[in-house]
Symmetry: C2
Subunit: 364 residues, 2 copies
């Protein structure tokens, strides 16, 4: 058994590799490029597990993440975040080193880049297909035309296509509903493409729910899911994956028992799990499901048991009396995180089930 003294993020390498190969096989079968988002795992070693499945191009969400993966041999990187002008020096370094793909949604940013970029760079127009976070609303033909024209007018800037994140697919979802979001998203991207006077604009779409649930990824060129590498309890709760697909779990020591109120206290709080939560139908908050350590990893979730309250270092688990009777102070419980991206980012390393430490980028 692993020697664990404090909150430690366990990683089931077989599950991670299975999640990667499933997505890679689907992309192959559908003839779309898999450009996975590496913001979830942020690890060069896990990156190599993708490379082994034929992945050559990746997505990241910050300039620093792009620099980290460029240093680890990735030479075609999309930064799927609006260009941060204040990092232009680092962006220029990247553009001179690798094939760099940036997102634009405003003429101001294209003008800034036209004036300051020193190397050829590829661009995607960021389309808001309904999520409402950022990007040009898909109905705003005028703005697409202006931004696209500004990109094509600059000699060093190449317009690649249209890119979106269907973030509104993150919620309880069925296979049919996912297909509906997918086809609606593709329809909206096609409508934007048809309004523009450029041949060969590519379409890139990136989210874990639709790329997992939709069997036939048609009419697009590229997918950029990220979360699927680990999935998490939110994705299982929403119907996107099974709990068996969840590939990371936070091992937490039990430090106090309160059987009189059906609670256990673990060393594992907001600085370990993040405050991301589900709200259950009865209004209670759910910060993670509970599993038990086994010889080969961890069990299926313990029924009726979950982290219902977090402070900086404390986690409070609600559990039924039968379960509480089995647990002793000093035991380890495993928490299946609600949002694996945020939990992994807080821990900054993984421990595999055979005891190997996998470092992360360490970007703060």
């Amino acid at each position: 058994m692993l020697k664990i003294e404090k909150p430690t993020l366990l990683l089931d390498e077989q599950k991670v590799k299975r999640n990667i190969s499933r997505m890679a096989e689907k992309a192959n079968r559908c003839g779309v490029r898999l450009r996975p988002h590496f913001k979830t795992h942020q690890s060069a070693i896990i990156g190599e597990w993708f490379r082994a499945q034929g992945v050559t191009d990746i997505t990241v969400s910050s300039v620093d993440m792009a620099l980290y993966f460029a240093q680890h041999g990735w030479d075609d990187i999309t930064i799927a975040f609006p260009v941060n002008w204040l990092e232009i020096d680092k962006i220029n370094h990247l553009a001179g080193t690798i094939r760099l793909n940036l997102l634009v949604e405003s003429v101001e940013t294209v003008q800034f880049l036209t004036a300051h970029l020193q190397h050829p760079t590829s661009f995607w127009l960021k389309v808001d297909t309904g999520y409402g976070r950022t990007g040009i609303p898909w109905t705003n033909q005028e703005q697409f035309a202006e931004v696209a024209e500004a990109v094509t007018a600059a000699s060093q800037l190449t317009l690649m296509g249209l890119l979106t994140h269907a973030g509104h697919a993150y919620g309880p979802i069925t296979k049919d509903a996912a297909a509906q979001v997918y086809h609606e998203t593709v329809f909206r991207l096609q409508a934007v493409r048809e309004s523009l006077p450029y041949a060969e604009l590519l379409i890139s779409l990136g989210d874990t729910p639709t790329t997992t649930l939709v069997d036939e990824l048609t009419a697009i060129d590229e997918i950029r899911p990220g979360n699927f590498v680990f999935y998490d309890y939110m994705q299982a709760y929403n119907g996107v994956c099974s709990v068996d697909d969840i590939a990371i779990a936070l091992a937490c020591p039990v430090v106090a028992r309160h059987p009189e109120r059906q609670e256990l206290v673990i060393y594992g709080g907001a600085v370990h799990l993040s405050k991301e939560h589900l709200t259950l139908p009865d209004g209670r908050l759910h910060f993670g499901a509970i599993a038990l350590p086994t010889d080969t990893g961890w069990s299926t979730p313990v029924p009726h048991s979950f982290v219902h309250r977090l402070s900086q270092e404390h986690g409070l688990i609600y559990a039924d009396s039968t379960f509480i009777d089995q647990v002793r102070i000093g035991d380890l419980l495993l928490v299946l995180p609600i949002h694996s991206c945020l939990t992994a980012n807080l821990r900054q390393s993984y421990l595999t089930l055979d005891g190997q430490t996998i470092p992360m980028a360490g970007i703060l």
Copy 2:
């Protein structure tokens, strides 16, 4: 002006020192020991600012934090967290090096420590005075008697007194309501003390709202507030401090503008701020107030403007049209965090207004 390229946690040294000296003066005037909680700042340099105000004893929330501050010259440390049996080797190292104070609430843990502790150690009984997180409920005289007896029966264990965290004081609160929580908490601790057959049990109380708002800290021996070193927007919103007391702010680049829906997008997301939020009376979520950079730090909060949505790296600010018209892509906005402890923990360093980097412990 400071050169800032990405989300950076600014620290106003004058405000921090003012917050520290106010609390130190109150403790002195009231004749109580100030044993500040260092989990908020987690920095040896900021620790020295406390030492300059006469502080000699501190509180932390993990064994690793105790090791860090012990290495930086602190020799009387309370770990205000239930004892984690799995870290007994590090606990023994600390107990042999400094004056170590631990919290207990169960006979099992006292028995474990009696069997495994190799050096004299002081103990506080953890009392739940109404917060309901952990500790022995203040009405459970039987359990206090059992645990206290187990401590006093062991030759290396010294029983210091009763310790509580009035976490239920964290919410909108007036000076009068804070006084009521304070006196109720003290009454409950006194009731526990009177039920026990030991002379000279001390009383320790730790939370920022009551220790800030109550002028006369009577009938207790020690206070352990932590958050007050920086305060945060939650404390200002709750009426505990003024916004001018907030001593840290996250500087974030503006990366996109959406005037048509009164929104700005900043580079500053859940991995920078944490997902801690307020829920406004109209149901909207509030992840941080917005201020502007000034020559001497930052402005008062911009009215009607706040971070209302966060993803991993994106922050969405809701703002009125007048304000949006003044802001350009590439500008820096400052976010006054909702919960300074979690934001500081995510950043792991501070930048003072005169450009000095202050490192944190780096405990993950």
